[in-house]
C-alpha cells in the first residue's frame, strides 16, 4: 500500500461507538477494450453469440498456438492512458499469470505485471460541488477468461470461451477515495472518459466494465488499516452499497475488539452484505514471469503523439469551454458533458443560438422528457435541429415560452418541422397591435369594477393580461398585451 494518501475530505467520516472513522477506498476497474478482435487472436469480440462461436485455435490453447498482439488494443490502451493524463510507457512487458481453471485454456492469463503500458495519471471528480483529484496508479492490458456455466447439468459444468482472450484494461486507482459517493463518482467519471475516448463502451450490465473495490477503515490521521477486496461489483449503485456495508462491517469488528483479515470478499446485493470468498492464505501463487512467446511491447514517442493529436475533447475540457463559450453555470455544463452524445446534441442546438436558452431546453425539456420515458439521447424522437427550431421561434417572438412547450409535445409525439407546425396549426403569436387593442378594449369595457381596482393596485394588471390572452386563444404576444393594457389603463 501507499504511505502517501490524500487528506480526509470533510463530512465523510462515519460515526462509531469509539468515535469517527474514515473509510479508505482504492479501485481496480476492468474495462473491456472496444475492438473487433481479441487481444492476441483474430477471433471476434461481439457479445451475445452462441457459446464457443468466437473461439480461435489460440483462444482454445491448442498445442503449438502462439499469441500475436492486436495493435488496435494497444492503441486503445494508449488513448485511455492519455485520457487519464497518465505516463505512457514506450516499453512494456507481457507476463504470464499461472493458475488452473477450466475457463482459462492456456493455464495462464497473459497480463502485465511489473512493467505496464500506462503508469501514473489522475481523474478529477466532483462530489456535492467539491472537486477532488484521484490518483491513477497504473493501467495494464490483459486477457479476459472464458465463462464457466454451472446450471446446465446435474454433474458437469460447461465452458464458454467466447470471452476467453478478449482484451481488458485493468485501471488501478490510488487509495484516494474517502466515501461511497466518491467511489461512485470515480467510476462514473472514469466511464465517461472511456466512452468519450471510445476505448470501452462502459456497459456494466454486460460485464464490460466491472470494479474490484478495496476497502479499509481507520481513525482519521491513523496509518492505513487492513483492506478487503470486494470482487466484481457490477453497478454504480452496488459500488456505493458495497462500500457502506463493508466499512460498517469492519468498524463493528474493530470496535468489538477484533481485527480485520486481509481477504477477498463478494458483495451480495440481495442480502446487502459482503461475504468472504478466500483468505490471504488461500490466495494463489501466480508464478508470474515474462511471456516468452511475446517480445516486449515497444512503440515510439511519435506513435503516442499521433494518438494524442487525434484524441477527442474530453469532459473536463469540454465543460470549461461550455462555461466560457456559452456562459453556462458549472452544474449545467457538468450535466451536458456527462455523455459525449449529450454534449454533441447541445452543441448542435446552441450553434448560432443563445447558449443558455439552448442549455435550458436540452436539460429541462429534452433530458427531462427522455429520462421520464427511459430513452437515451441517441434514440431521442426529437432531433437537435427540431429543438433548435423551437428555440428560434421563441427568440424571434413567433411563439411564447408556454406555446413552445406545447409545440415540443407535438414534435415529440408526431415529429415534423416546428416552424411548419406553428404555421399550419395557427399557433403564431398575435403581434398585430390593432387586433390586440380591440381585445383589450373589449375586456376594459366589460369590467369597469376591475378597472377601478387596478388603478389602486397596479399588479392586478396580470388579471387583465390573462383575460386578453384567453380571448386571443393564447396567441397574443404577452409583451404587446402588457404594453397596450398599461397605456389604455393609464398605468405608469
Amino acid at each position: 500500500m501507499h504511505d502517501k494518501v490524500a487528506a480526509p475530505s470533510n463530512g465523510n467520516l462515519i460515526p462509531g461507538a469509539t468515535g469517527d472513522w474514515e473509510v479508505v477506498i482504492g479501485m481496480e476497474v476492468h474495462a473491456q477494450v472496444n475492438s473487433r478482435a481479441k487481444l492476441f487472436s483474430g477471433a471476434a469480440t461481439a457479445f451475445g453469440a452462441e457459446p464457443n462461436a468466437h473461439v480461435s485455435l489460440v483462444d482454445a490453447a491448442m498445442p503449438g498456438m502462439l499469441p500475436v498482439i492486436n495493435e488496435e488494443c494497444v492503441a486503445q490502451a494508449v488513448r485511455t492512458g492519455l485520457g487519464l493524463k497518465a505516463q505512457i510507457n514506450l516499453k512494456s512487458i507481457f507476463d504470464r499469470k499461472n493458475y488452473f481453471y477450466p475457463d482459462l485454456p492456456q493455464g495462464y492469463q497473459i497480463s502485465q505485471y511489473k512493467q505496464p503500458i500506462v503508469g501514473e495519471g489522475e481523474i478529477e471528480i466532483e462530489v456535492d460541488g467539491t472537486a477532488k483529484t484521484v490518483g491513477i496508479e497504473r493501467l495494464h492490458l490483459e486477457q479476459d477468461a472464458g465463462k464457466s456455466i454451472h446450471d446446465q447439468h446435474p454433474e458437469y459444468s460447461y465452458v464458454d470461451l467466447n470471452r476467453s482472450g478478449v482484451a481488458l484494461m485493468e485501471i488501478v486507482s490510488k487509495p484516494d477515495l474517502r466515501s461511497a459517493k466518491e467511489a461512485q463518482a470515480y467510476v462514473t467519471k472514469l466511464r465517461t472518459i472511456l466512452r468519450y475516448l471510445g476505448t470501452c463502451d462502459g456497459d456494466m450490465e454486460k460485464g464490460n466494465l466491472r470494479a474490484d473495490v478495496n476497502v479499509s477503515v481507520r481513525k482519521p490521521g491513523a496509518p492505513l488499516g487492513t483492506r478487503c477486496e470486494i470482487k466484481n461489483v457490477n453497478s454504480i449503485r452496488f459500488i456505493g452499497q458495497a462500500v457502506d456495508v463493508e466499512a460498517r462491517r469492519q468498524i463493528d469488528i474493530i470496535e468489538d475488539g477484533g481485527k480485520i483479515d486481509q481477504e477477498t470478499r463478494l458483495f451480495d446485493p440481495g442480502k446487502g452484505e459482503t461475504r468472504s470468498m478466500r483468505s490471504k492464505e488461500e490466495a494463489h501463487d501466480y508464478r508470474y514471469f515474462p511471456d516468452p512467446d511475446l517480445l516486449p511491447l515497444e512503440f515510439t514517442e511519435d506513435y503516442v503523439a499521433h494518438l494524442r493529436h487525434d484524441l477527442p475533447e474530453l469532459p473536463d475540457e469540454k465543460k470549461a469551454r461550455f462555461m466560457a463559450e456559452y456562459g453556462l453555470a458549472s452544474y449545467d455544463a457538468s450535466v451536458l458533458v456527462a455523455e459525449r452524445e449529450r454534449a454533441d446534441y447541445f452543441q448542435a442546438v446552441a450553434k448560432g443560438r443563445d447558449g443558455k436558452t439552448a442549455a435550458n431546453w436540452v436539460i429541462n425539456e429534452l433530458l427531462g422528457r427522455l429520462n421520464k420515458e427511459g430513452h437515451d439521447i441517441a434514440d431521442s424522437p426529437v432531433s437537435a435541429d427540431q429543438v433548435g427550431g423551437i428555440v428560434d421561434l421563441i427568440a424571434n417572438g413567433t411563439i411564447s415560452g408556454k406555446l413552445a412547450k406545447d409545440l415540443f409535445e407535438i414534435v415529440w409525439s408526431e415529429g415534423g418541422d416546428p416552424a411548419e407546425i406553428v404555421e399550419t396549426r395557427g399557433m403564431k403569436q398575435v403581434t398585430d397591435t390593432g387586433a390586440i387593442e380591440t381585445a383589450v378594449d373589449a375586456v376594459i369595457a366589460a369590467n369597469p369594477d376591475k378597472v377601478e381596482q387596478v388603478k389602486a393596485k397596479p399588479s392586478m394588471i396580470g388579471w387583465f393580461v390573462g383575460q386578453v390572452m384567453k380571448a386571443s386563444g393564447g396567441k397574443a404576444n404577452p409583451q404587446a398585451v402588457n404594453e397596450i393594457l398599461k397605456a389604455k389603463l393609464g398605468l405608469e
Binding site: M62, P63, F289
Partner: protein, 493 residues
C-alpha cells in the same frame, strides 16, 4: 536400380530431375524400408504410406510438367512435435492421446508447399525432454549404430532420436527436428548425421508443440551438409503468426556452402575443455582444428567465461517455461482425460496418468523456481546468466567468425546407462545449451568414430542469422572427414 534409400536428399532430387527414377519409386523404397526396419529401430510412431504415395504421384505429375518445386517428391520424416493437419500428433506423450490437429505447422506447411512427401511421424523424447529418446510414451528408439563386436542397443540421442535414427538408417531422406538445449545436434552427433539448429527466430514455432518457448527452434537432420542447407532454406521463413520469428531474407545456403573457408577466423573456446572429457573427443576436436586450418581458415583461442553457468541456468529457464507451457494439457478440451470425483481430482488424475516421469520432474522444477520467494534467486538469476552468455559471444565475434567445439562429451551410450541418473543425462547437453541460451545457430557435423566404432560430431557455432558461414565450415569438415554410415544394415535383415 540402386538402393534409393541410400541416396542423399540432393542426389535424390537430381535423380528425379533426370528421371532416373520416379517419386513413387523413391517413396515406395522408403516405405518398404520402414516396414522392414521399424520394429527394431522404432523411429516412426505413425506411418502415413497412403498419403505419401498420393503425394509422390502428384510430385511425378509436377516433374513431368516441368513444374517441380525445390523438394518435389522427396520423402521426409516429421518429428511428432510438429502439428500435422488431420494426422495424429502427440509429442510422444500419453496426455495428447489421439490428438489430431486441424492445422499444419508453418515449418511443415513450407515443406509441403515445396513438394516434399511425408512418410510419417517420428519418435522423440516426451515433449522433447530428454537426451536419449528413452522418455517417449512410444518406447525408446534404437540407434542404427552398434559398438564394434556388440549387439547392445545404443541410444540415438534425444530428443530428436526418431529423426536421427531414421535418417541414419535410411528410412527417410531427411527429417525435421527441434532443438531446445541440443535436441538436434546431440542426436545427429550420436548417429553420424548432420543437424543444424538455426538462429532463434529463423524458423516459425507456430504449430510446434512448445517445450521452452524462448529456446525452441526447428531445424533439419540430414545425411550431408548440403542436404541440411537445402532443408533449412525451405523450413525457414518469417511468420506473422510467430512474433518471435524474424523478418530476415533466407540466403542461398547451398551457394554460400561452396565458398570454402579460406580466411575464415575460427574460434576455439578454452572453457569447453571440461573435466572428464574423453581423450578421443579431445583428439577429434584437434583434428577438426587441423582440417579447417588446412582448408585455409585461421584458428584463434577465445574465452567464453560464463560457459560453466550455462547448463545450470538452462535447467532453470527451460523447466520454468515448460511448467507453464504444459499447463494447457488439463484434460478439459482435448487429449487424455482421466475423470475424478471433482475438478481438481480430474486435473490430478489426468496429469498423473498423462505425463511421464521426466516431464513431471521438469514441471515440478519449473513450478518451484517460479514460486514466490524463489523467483529472484532462480529464474531472474538464470536470465542474468543468459545475458552474460550472450555477451561472451558478442565479444568473441569481434575476433572470430565461427566457433568450433565438440558436440557431445561422449559417443552414443547404452539403453539405461544414464536414464536412472538425471544429472548424468543433463550433462549430455553441456556443449550445446549455451547456443540455445544465446539464441545462436549451431550445427553438428560427423567428424569421426570413437574407439568403439560409433560416430562422433563436431559443433560449429555462428553469429545470429549467419547460418551460411556454418554451412561453409561444416562442409570443410565433411570434405575432410568423409561420410559415416553404419557398416552393417542389421535392421533390414
Amino acid at each position: 536400380m540402386t538402393d534409393l534409400t541410400k541416396l542423399t536428399l540432393v542426389e535424390a532430387r537430381d535423380g528425379l530431375a533426370k528421371k532416373s527414377f520416379s517419386a513413387r519409386d523413391l517413396t515406395s523404397a522408403h516405405i518398404a524400408a520402414i516396414e522392414r526396419a521399424n520394429a527394431s529401430i522404432n523411429a516412426f510412431v505413425l506411418e502415413t504410406p497412403d498419403r505419401a504415395l498420393a503425394a509422390a504421384d502428384a510430385a511425378d505429375r509436377n516433374i513431368a510438367k516441368g513444374t517441380a518445386r525445390p523438394l518435389e517428391g522427396l520423402p521426409l520424416g516429421i518429428k511428432d512435435l510438429f502439428c500435422t493437419e488431420g494426422v495424429r500428433t502427440t509429442a510422444c506423450s500419453r496426455i495428447l492421446d489421439d490428438f489430431k490437429p486441424t492445422y499444419e505447422s508453418t515449418v511443415t506447411r513450407n515443406l509441403w508447399d515445396a513438394g516434399a512427401v511425408m512418410l510419417g511421424k517420428l519418435n522423440n523424447d516426451e515433449f522433447a525432454m530428454g537426451s536419449s529418446n528413452e522418455t517417449s510414451a512410444f518406447g525408446p528408439v534404437v540407434n542404427p549404430w552398434r559398438r564394434r563386436g556388440s549387439d547392445a542397443k545404443l541410444v540415438p540421442g534425444g530428443s530428436s532420436g526418431g529423426s536421427s535414427a531414421a535418417v541414419a538408417a535410411g528410412l527417410c531422406l531427411a527429417a525435421t527436428a527441434t532443438d531446445t538445449g541440443g535436441s538436434i545436434r546431440q542426436p545427429a552427433a550420436l548417429t553420424g548425421t548432420v543437424g543444424i539448429k538455426p538462429t532463434y527466430g529463423r524458423c516459425s514455432r507456430w504449430g510446434i508443440v512448445a517445450f521452452a518457448s524462448s529456446l525452441d527452434q526447428a531445424g533439419p537432420i540430414t545425411k550431408t551438409v548440403e542436404d541440411a542447407a537445402l532443408m533449412l532454406s525451405v523450413m525457414a521463413s518469417h511468420d506473422p503468426k510467430d512474433t518471435t520469428s524474424v523478418d530476415q531474407p533466407v540466403p542461398d545456403y547451398a551457394a554460400l556452402m561452396r565458398q570454402g573457408v579460406k580466411g575464415l577466423r575460427v574460434g576455439v573456446p578454452k572453457e569447453y575443455r571440461v573435466d572428464g572429457m574423453s581423450k578421443e573427443i579431445d583428439t577429434l576436436w584437434q583434428t577438426g582444428i587441423d582440417w579447417l586450418k588446412a582448408a585455409g581458415a585461421t584458428i584463434k583461442e577465445i574465452t567464453l567465461p560464463h560457459t560453466k553457468y550455462a547448463l545450470p541456468a538452462y535447467y532453470i529457464v527451460a523447466p520454468a517455461e515448460a511448467s507453464s507451457n504444459l499447463a494447457r494439457y488439463d484434460g478439459v478440451r482435448y487429449g487424455l482425460r482421466v475423470p475424478g470425483k471433482d475438478l481438481i481430482d480430474t486435473y490430478e488424475n489426468t496429469r498423473a496418468a498423462g505425463f511421464g516421469k521426466e516431464v513431471k520432474r521438469r514441471v515440478l522444477i519449473g513450478t518451484y523456481v517460479l514460486s514466490a520467494g524463489y523467483y529472484d534467486a532462480y529464474y531472474l538469476k538464470a536470465q542474468k546468466v543468459r545475458t552474460l552468455i550472450k555477451r561472451d559471444f558478442d565479444r568473441a565475434w569481434n575476433d572470430v567468425d565461427v566457433v568450433l567445439t565438440p558436440t557431445t562429451p561422449s559417443p552414443a551410450f547404452a539403453f539405461g546407462e544414464k536414464s536412472g541418473d538425471p544429472l548424468a543425462m543433463y550433462l549430455e547437453d553441456i556443449f550445446t545449451v549455451t547456443v540455445n541460451m544465446a539464441g545462436l545457430p549451431g550445427i553438428s557435423v560427423p567428424a569421426g568414430l570413437s574407439a568403439e566404432g560409433t560416430p562422433l560430431g563436431l559443433q560449429l557455432i555462428g553469429k545470429p542469422f549467419d547460418e551460411g558461414t556454418l554451412f561453409r565450415a561444416a562442409k570443410a569438415i565433411e570434405d575432410a572427414a568423409g561420410r559415416f554410415t553404419p557398416a552393417d544394415a542389421w535392421w533390414l535383415t
